[in-house]
């Protein structure tokens, strides 16, 4: 017997690659430490998840919705610290470096987004 797959209409979910290897999507979900919304959802100011509401990785290994973190860092109370562990906030370049430059594009436009977010 020879089986040939002619066409496959499949269904998949996308997930942020947070570096964790658990493939059990139904387990305890990863949520943003600031807004408590799952990473695959979007931050409270956004309406569309995914590329339009990306994540940001800290040197401290904490991950947030980028918009949530930028908003937090923008407050005086933040003292530029990670809201989870109060260590000085720094974005991990290491994580970004394994990715394509497009991510950098996204970071660069993120300040525009922040402006936009404030206006809203």
């Amino acid at each position: 017997m020879k089986i040939t797959v002619k066409r496959w209409h499949a269904i998949a979910q996308w997930q942020w690659d947070t570096g964790k290897t658990d493939d059990n999507g139904d387990a305890e979900e990863d949520v943003c430490g600031i807004c408590r919304i799952p990473f695959e959802g979007c931050c409270p100011t956004c309406k569309v998840p995914g590329d339009d509401c990306p994540l940001i990785w800290g040197e401290c290994s904490h991950v947030f919705h980028m918009h949530c973190l930028l908003k937090w860092i923008g407050t005086a109370a933040s003292k530029q610290q990670c809201p989870m562990d109060r260590r000085p906030w720094g974005e991990t370049i290491a994580h970004l470096s394994v990715h394509t430059p497009r991510n950098l594009d996204r970071i660069s436009i993120s300040s525009d987004r922040r402006e936009k977010g404030r206006r809203e």
Binding site: W8, Q13, W14, W16, K47
Partner: protein
Amino acid sequence: MQMRSHGFPCFVVEIIMAASEALRNQVAAKWQDSFNRLNRTGVGISGLMEFSKAWAVAAEFLRPRDLGAPPKDFNTHEIRSAFDVLMQCRMLPMLLESFVACLDMSICQRICGRNQHLITDDVTRFMTEYDASGDPDVIGRLVLRLADWYFAWAPGGELGQTISSAYIVNFQTHVFSVLPAAFAAGFKRLLAATLALFTEGATPGVPASVQDSRLWPSFELLGLADRYESLIASVCYEHIETHVLETCAGKWDEPMLSRLREWMAEKVVPWMLLPYARGAKTAEEARTMLQGVGSRFDFHVCKTLCDLRTKEMFDIVIDYPDSTHALHDLKECLQRVDQRTQLVRALRKSNKKRLLHPGADTKDILTQYVSLIRCLRVIDPPGVLLFKVADPIRRYLRDRPDTIRCIVASLVVDGESGDSLVDDDEPIQPLQSAQVDDYTDPNWEPEPIDAGPDFRANKPSDVVSTLVSIYDSKDLFVKELQVLLAQRLLAVTDGNYEKERRNLEILKIRFGEAPLQVCEVMLKDMTDSKRIDQHVQSQSSSVMHPTIISRHFWPKFQSSKIQMPGQLHEIQEAYAREFMTFKPDKKLRWLSHLGSIRLEIELQDRTVGADVPPLEAAFIELFSEQDVWTLNDLIARVGTVERSAALKALLAWVDRGVLREETEDVDMQRFRLLERVPEDAGAGPVGITTAGSRTALAEEEPAVLTVQQQQAEQMKVYWKFIEGMLTNLGGLPIDRIQTMLKFAQGYDRTVDQLGAFMDAARREGLVSVKDGIWRLNR
């Protein structure tokens, strides 16, 4: 004293002699008076003699005689002068009395002295004939005969009004006294025949007497028209009823009321002139006389039609819009006859009996409800009737688990099924909710008087708003819309989502942008998937074209974790790798049990093509490893899968003639690949199968959990609370349970949803309910 000279009879004299002087004088005076009256100014007793002769002549003239007897030869002059004499003597009343006495005898017994049967005998003869035949013609002939008697005995009009009217009264009285009880029934039939002559024309069956022009004048002469006035009216009422039922029952597509009124004017009114405009001299006079009775009959037409339409209303609603004319008729009738209460009662009763029962489809109930909304809008634009009739339907629908799903399905344009609840010509508009009275509205009107206290005049008026308002919140609709959209999007394989996009735009107008934001994301996922696939295919072509979804924006899916074996797994891996190259910060998680796969299977003697669900593909892929598998081993290889689902998938291959079941015992179900069509295979489905001949997808359970299922899942969390409170407090009404559950964190269900859940728990035997009190079963 003069009296002796006048020769009084002896006994008078004796009486007078015996009496006292005073009495004697009194009687004498009276006698003198009488004498003077009779004798007048005659010489001696010549006046008295003249009177006697006149009396004899007049009495003989008036004496009733048999119809067959030869007419008596009277000298008109002689009679005239005789009556003159009697008049001068003021003896006419006496003559009349005598005449009446004689008349009485003639009618009721025998004509004075002669042994002839007159009126009584005639009446008896005719009535016997009528009893035997039931023919109203007999009654007609009897009436004409009685009229003959009347004329035969009537004193000439020249004798003065007094005599004539005395004659009429006495003749009528005596005729009535001899008519038997059965006459009324016969007379009614005769009247009905006269009316039928007007409404149906001179058909061959019409009795001759009915067409006799003397008939109605005879009724008048004999006083029948007055005596049987209510009978005449009831004949007309009954005729109207029969006519309305015959012409209007089930006839809803034409304006019948105006036609009935034409019929009344053309056919019935000419007949009505006979009994009701008797003696009218001019048309104007006749019209005035008919006014009152005409209005009564018009009312009866309206009432009869109103009764009929009320009885037919449920089917009129079914037939809408073909039955529009019936609705306009009913509206007009209801303005004349106040039977709104009856209409409400009848509709509620037939709805309960024919609609609101477990055997009816929710879809049908909704269709009828929508039709009802439209029908009652025609009859009663303010919506009071609808409010009263709809209430039980709405309550019933609220308790049905699939109501929202049905409503939502009808909101989504399919393009194919034409039985949408919503008319195409109905404008798409935002949902309206009940508002408080707006007194600044120039069109504001006070609420109709029969509106109850709960009635709100500005209830939502468009159909969709009305349906959505069955529920307190529209959230459930949005959830259901999401489920429906998900099912439809996942079923799209040709990449064309335009229809769904259009649907969503329409729904956004109705429900608002914000609640449907998740649906926006779903559609975006579809277009994103298409773009991603184009990129992936350009890098490394694949047979796989996945829909990649944002999980939090889609309804929950049936959870199932199957592992795709062999080349299927490789295809998944290859695609996922390519995806990660394109989107490095993301990865894919396959929902392997969803979707569909088109396979081509080359066997030794044939090729089989099929579009199959993933589980079927996974199983057949495993058969490329070995020819024989037990069910248990197959299940173990794909991971978690229901035994029944696995069996169903395998049997699909058996149906295609690719596998054969080889089962020795039930616990060890085995399947074998058929590389060749076995010799013993009959004309079964084994053989060359054309691609896609069997799309198992159609039978597949919907992948997306319904809102109901999702809620049931969530509701289970609260079962512990409910169990606890029922254990501690015994029985509780639903409202109490609801109140107490509100203390539980995150509980946001309506009491209706709780009710549905409790009902489900009851079906599982966990609880029971009696008189509204829920208890645990122990």
